[in-house]
Amino acid sequence: MSKIIKQFRPALICLLVMTVICGIVYTGLVTGIAQLIFPHQANGSIITVTLKDGTKKDYGSKLIEQEFTKQQYLIGRPMTVSNLSPTSDEQKKLVQQRIEWWHSFDPSNKADIPTDLLTASGSGVDPNISPEAAEYQVARIAKARNMSEDAVRSVISKYTTGRFLGFIGEPAVNVLQVNLALDGLI
């Protein structure tokens, strides 16, 4: 027992010292560097737009998905987290419903729907869709906006990021940025 009590003092002091070093000094240092060098990223990659009348408006974070349901917008992935097994009946029903929704939303489009538009992400706020999922929507957006398909495509490709080093990860289209650009806001 006395052996245990003998450890109390160094243990307590050590814990407090580590709390100061790792909790305060380290976290503070990283926060300082972040705010100094990367203030935009460190504060949530917020997209701020200066409107025509000179006021500034925050339209969201580049990294957080927003809901789009109108014909003239690029539409992202379902904003939900399911945790369902991909082979479960519940999940199959959900995917079936989404297929039907897309068919009624865009009846003239007979192409196969890319899977990422039919499945929920792990975060529920995936800001990206695959280039195939964007291409699937080009004709509809062009028609709704009275633009040429190529004009829509060029906006999409502007906000598409490729694989890192050309082979790591997957290419992705940022939905919010594309829609802001289509609306002429960025």
Binding site: A11, V17, T27, L84, D112, F167, I168
Partner: protein, 563 residues
């Protein structure tokens, strides 16, 4: 698919390339040698010893070393519990978070002190900035350092002879934190911030959405600093609830690559450290090879299942399983991450494991059930694997009727008893925990999925808890008093009982004389031994878990195969 293979090969190659210098560096830290950071950090180090009243040369025997770990970790649980319960009264709480329930706070405290980082809460809706940084971040560092310190002790057991002391816990803890974990975390956090991981003390940001103009809340906080050490220290506890699937925690393919490498970096490096320390680098390489082989097999199974076993629908493109996965990661990076995080006892996720295919999910579960020794937690993975090495030496010794020995130390009954504690404790608690949970009334209300996949959720939960992993099939609603309390106790028991056994083993080994290697000595660094070791690991794992896996993922697979 060829892209995925290229990416996987690249990451593993890069890992090995980085592990060699880091492993040698960690060896220097362990043995108290000078490194390039000594000039800057040694005044800080000496200052810390002074405040703590420690003399540098003072060494501890096994019992004292264990007691200091237990007392230190005990205070750690208490302090972390108190910070959570009092967060409503503490500063740096811009969202006005109140105290969580006492059992949830206990579970979280036990979880972070035991390097598990099981989370029955979502950070952005539960914890204040002060709890995250002064509570959780601190334990992210020190729990990892404790694991590495215990590995150092075991290594000293092999290299010392006729000694009773094994080093000083406070010195080991301080040196690992100061020279290894903090510098690495600093570099990684700055890289992550450049990619878009948030790091601020400002309150959450309210923005208006483009289409409907309704307001949307963007959660913020000092995240990057914690995420860096969560990956490096095989902790795995996300700053946000969705962990590294959440875009503000892991925004780009590059940030994903960095976080992925960090999961395996120190566990792989420590194999090199081990070889260097026992002055026979082949021994470290043999263990690393065994880990890599098991890893590549698991990775192939997971990737194949995720790519090919998802259901197909009329009117949709034929592709891999994207449910629960982010677009930037796709099947490839999500499968690699899932394999790495369960192999290495990290427990962070960049996709929903619950939504993996049944066979993919089974592989993740099985990696944990093997005892977190395929890389495993920092320090704990390698000391667990060395336990399996000793078991293999013992079995091989029995087969040829010779006293088993490893690295010149005879393996005797006391050593084998300790090894058995290390190996049996996690698998016993996994099975007992699962069995108890499924007998609880109302267990089905905790589950999202039905049938066999529902059982998989429970089995995954207790495999994770009882192996200090921390990831989950998140459909399992973990925030209930039963899972909080029993889970908390399991995490602490499975961390500190085997850990104590390892230190006792080290103490016993350090006391022994070296025996000269003779003609009949079993080589522990050739291909045959690596295969033997892999065989023993797989047999112990398969014998323990095949029945349970048959009820869960295997039944799940066959039920839904006709798609």
């Amino acid at each position: 698919m060829s892209n995925i293979v290229l990416q996987d090969v690249f990451i593993i190659g890069l890992l090995i390339l980085l592990a060699v210098p880091l492993g040698i560096y960690i060896y220097k830290i362990m043995s108290g040698q000078k490194v390039f950071l000594t000039k800057v950090l040694s005044p800080v180090e000496k200052g810390i010893y002074k405040v703590m009243g420690i003399k540098c040369g003072e060494e501890m025997n096994a019992i004292t070393y264990i007691l200091s770990i237990l007392v230190f970790s005990g205070f750690g649980v208490l302090l972390l519990w108190l910070i959570q319960m009092l967060q409503g009264f503490l500063p740096f709480n811009p969202q006005g978070m109140k105290a969580p329930s006492w059992d949830l706070a206990f579970n979280t405290a036990a979880s972070f002190v035991s390097n598990t980082n099981w989370q029955a809460y979502a950070g952005e809706s539960t914890l204040s900035y002060i709890t995250q940084s002064m509570g959780l971040t601190v334990q992210n560092f020190v729990s990892a350092a404790v694991g590495i310190a215990v590995l150092f002790v075991l290594i000293r057991g092999f290299i010392l002879t006729q000694k009773k002391t094994l080093g000083n816990f406070w010195v080991d803890l301080t040196r690992i934190t100061l020279y290894v974990l903090i510098p690495l975390s600093l570099i990684v956090s700055v890289i992550l911030i450049s990619q878009g991981v948030v790091q601020t003390l400002s309150p959450y940001k309210s923005v208006s959405t483009l289409q409907s103009g309704i307001s949307q809340t963007i959660p913020l906080g000092p995240a990057a600093s914690q995420i860096a050490i969560k990956q490096i220290g095989t902790n795995g506890g996300g700053f946000f609830g969705a962990n590294s699937a959440f875009p503000l925690e892991n925004p780009t393919s590059f940030s994903n690559l960095i976080q992925l490498l960090c999961i395996l970096l120190i566990p792989a490096s420590l194999c090199i450290t081990f070889g260097k320390a026992v002055k026979n680098s082949k021994q470290g390489r043999a263990i690393l090879a065994a880990m890599l082989i098991l890893f590549v097999i698991a990775l192939s199974v997971v990737t194949f299942s995720e790519q090919n076993l998802a259901p197909h629908f009329a009117g949709a493109t034929v592709a891999g399983n994207m449910e629960g996965k982010e677009v930037i990661n796709g099947v490839g990076s999500s499968s690699f991450w899932g394999t790495a995080t369960t192999a290495a006892s990290n427990g962070s996720v960049n996709a929903s494991h619950d939504s993996f295919t049944s066979i993919g999910g089974m592989m993740l579960m099985f990696l944990m059930q093997l005892g977190e020794i395929v890389f495993g937690g920092v320090g704990s993975g390698l000391y667990g694997m060395i336990g399996f090495v000793i078991l293999t030496v013992f079995i091989a010794g029995l087969m040829v009727g010779r006293t088993p020995e490893y690295l010149g130390k005879k393996v005797e009954p006391f050593d084998m008893k300790m090894v058995c504690v290390v190996i049996l404790m996690p698998l016993l608690l996994t099975l007992l925990g699962t069995a108890t949970a499924v007998m609880m009334p109302g267990v089905t209300t905790w589950l999202t999925n039905k049938g066999a996949h529902g059982f998989s959720e429970v089995l995954y939960a207790f495999s994770s808890l009882a192996n200090n992993n921390g990831s989950a099939f998140a459909g399992y609603n973990a925030n209930n008093p039963f899972t909080n309390i029993i889970g908390g106790i399991i995490m602490l028991a499975v961390r500190f009982v085997p850990m104590s056994a390892v230190i006792f083993l080290a103490g016993n080994l350090a006391n022994k004389k070296f025996v000269a290697a003779g003609e009949g000595t079993l080589s522990t660094s050739n291909t045959m031994f690596v295969m033997l070791l892999i065989g023993v690991v797989l047999i112990v794992g398969a014998l323990s878990f095949l029945p349970a896996l048959a009820l869960g993922p295997i039944a799940d697979y066959f039920t839904h195969r006709g798609i």
